[in-house]
Amino acid sequence: MFSAKTVQAEDALQSAALPFVAPVPRVPIWTTGVVAGLTWLGFAAITQYLPDIDDFERTTLLAQIALVLAAALALLVAVAPLQNNGGAIGRGLAKVRHAGPWLILLAVALSAWELVTAKFLVLPRPFFASPQAMLEVFTDDYPRLGDSVWHSVLLLSGGYLIGAAVGFSFGVAIGWSRVVGYWAHPVLRLIGPLPATAWLPLAFFAFPSSHSASTFLVALATGFPVTVLTWSGVASVNKAYYDVARTMGASQRFLVLKVAIPAALPSVFVGLFMGLGSSFSVLVVAEMMGVKSGLGWYLQWAQGWAAYANMYSALLVMALMCTGLITLLFRVRDRVLSWQKGLVQW
C-alpha cells in the first residue's frame, strides 16, 4: 500500500511539474498480428507454389482459405486502434488479440504438416493425411459427416436428458428420504461403479432396437454420477437452512423444492459435468458396436475403408461437438448459479 501511494504521489508531482504535456493516446502497432498475418501468407504460398507430390484435389482452396485469413489479419492490424473504443467491437478485437500467438503457432504447424505430407511425403500415406485431404473430406463428404453429427447429437441428447432427469430425481429422493436411502444405497453401490459399456451385450439383446439400447446405455452412464452428486449435495445442505424455513412455517414440499434442491445445485452441476463426460465415451462405443449411424459409426466406417483423412476429420468434428456441449453445460451453470462467486471459467 505504501509503495503504491508513493508512486501515485510521484506521478502527481510529475504531472504537476509538466502541466503542458498532455498524454497523446497512441496505439502501438499490433506486432503479433503482423507476424500472424505473414505466417498465414507464408502458409498460403507454400501450399500454392510448392508442387504437390501427388494429385490433391483441394490444394488451391486450402491456399485461398489461408490467404483470406491473412487478409483478415491485415484488416485487424489496420483497425487495431478501435480496440480502445470499448463496446462490442473493442471486446471482439481484444479477444482476437489475445489469440494472436495461437494464430501464429497454428499457421506454422499447418505449414510444417503441409510440408511433411503433401509436399515431401515424409510421413507415409495413407496413415497420415495432408491438410488438403482433410479439407476435401469436409467439402465432399459433408452430407454423410453432417448426418453422423446429427444422429450422434440426437442419440446423446436423448440418453443424456433421460439419465440426468432420472439421476436427479433419484438423487433427491435418496438424499431426502431415509427409507429410499436405505433401499437404494446398496443397489447404487453395487450397480453404479459398473461401466455402462459392460451392459452393452445385454442391452443390444434386451432392447427392441439398437437406438433404444444405446439411449439406455447413455442414460445409465449419465445417471450414476448425477445420482451420487445430487444425493451428496442434498445430504450436505446446512441443517440451519431447514431450521430457518421450518420456524417460518415451511411445508416439507417447500423444504425440498426451495431449500434442499437450490442448495444442492452446485453439486448437481458437478454430476451433470461428469455424466456428460462418461456419456461421450458410451456414445462412441455404442455407435461403433451396434448403431448404424453417428460419428462413432463414421470412424469405424472410415477405418474400414482405410480412409484416414475421413477419420481425422470425424475426430476433429467429434472434439468440436464434445467441447461445444460442455461449453453449453457451463453456460447453463453460470446462468443458474450466478449467485455463486468464484466459478471456474470453461
Partner: protein, 262 residues
Amino acid sequence: MVAAAAVAPVAAGAALDVIDVGHAFDLDGKKLHVLNRISFRAEPGELVALLGPSGCGKSSLLRLVAGLEPPSVGSVLVDDAPITGPHPSRVVMFQDPTLYPWRTVRANVSLGLEARGLLRTLGGRVDQALQLVGLTQFASAYPHQLSGGMAQRVSLARALVNDPRLLLLDEPLGKLDSMTRITMQGELVSLWQRSGFTALLVTHDVEEALFMANRVIVLSDRPAAIKADVSVDLPYPRHRGDARLAELRREVLGLLGLDANW
C-alpha cells in the same frame, strides 16, 4: 429507522411459560443433560434475556421454545397452549445470519411469506421490513456481497416480515464487530419497543443483556439452572454509562462467579 411506523404492530406480544423444563441430548450413547428444571414466565411485550456461560444450554432452551425440538421433561406454553412444533408467530434470529446464498436479499426476506403462500397478498411487508433495517438499496444484492452486520440485518428483516408475537434472539449479535453490535443493540431495542412483541434474548454478554432487557435470567453452567432473575429497573433509552447499570453488572458478574476478574 424513521420508517418504523409503517409496520403496524398487528399482534401484541405473546405470553411464554417455561415450566419445569429439562432437556438432554444423546451423545455417543451417553446422556448429556443441558437443562435442569427451568421455570420462568415472560409477560406479553417483555424483553427477557437468558444470560449464561457459553455452552450452558441457553440455545437449546431457545430451540425448545421455537418448537424445533420437544423438551425431554416439562412443558413450554405460549399463551397457555403447549408448543407442538415450529410456528411463524415464533421466529428465531440465529447467531449466523443463515441467509440462503442463492436468493437475493429481497427473496431471503420474502422467505416466510413465500413458505406460507402469502407473498402475493402481503408482499408489501417485504419492502417495509427492508426499509426498517435500512437495506432497501441492497434488495437485489446477493448475501455474499453483504458485510456481517448487513447480513444480520437481513436476517432480522426476514424474521420481522412474519410479524412475530415472540421473537427468539439466539446470540444474534455474537459474531458482529463491537461497533456494529452497539448500533444494533440500540436498533433492536427501539424496534422491540415499537412493535410490541415479546422477545427472548440469549446472550453471554452481560452488558448486552443489561442494556437491552427488562429482566435478566442468569443461568448456571451446564446443565443450566436458573441462578437469579434480575429485574433491570431502568427506563429506555438507556445509557451505557448509567451508574445503576454498573451496579447491576457487578451484581450479575458476581452471580456468574466473575466478580474477581472485574
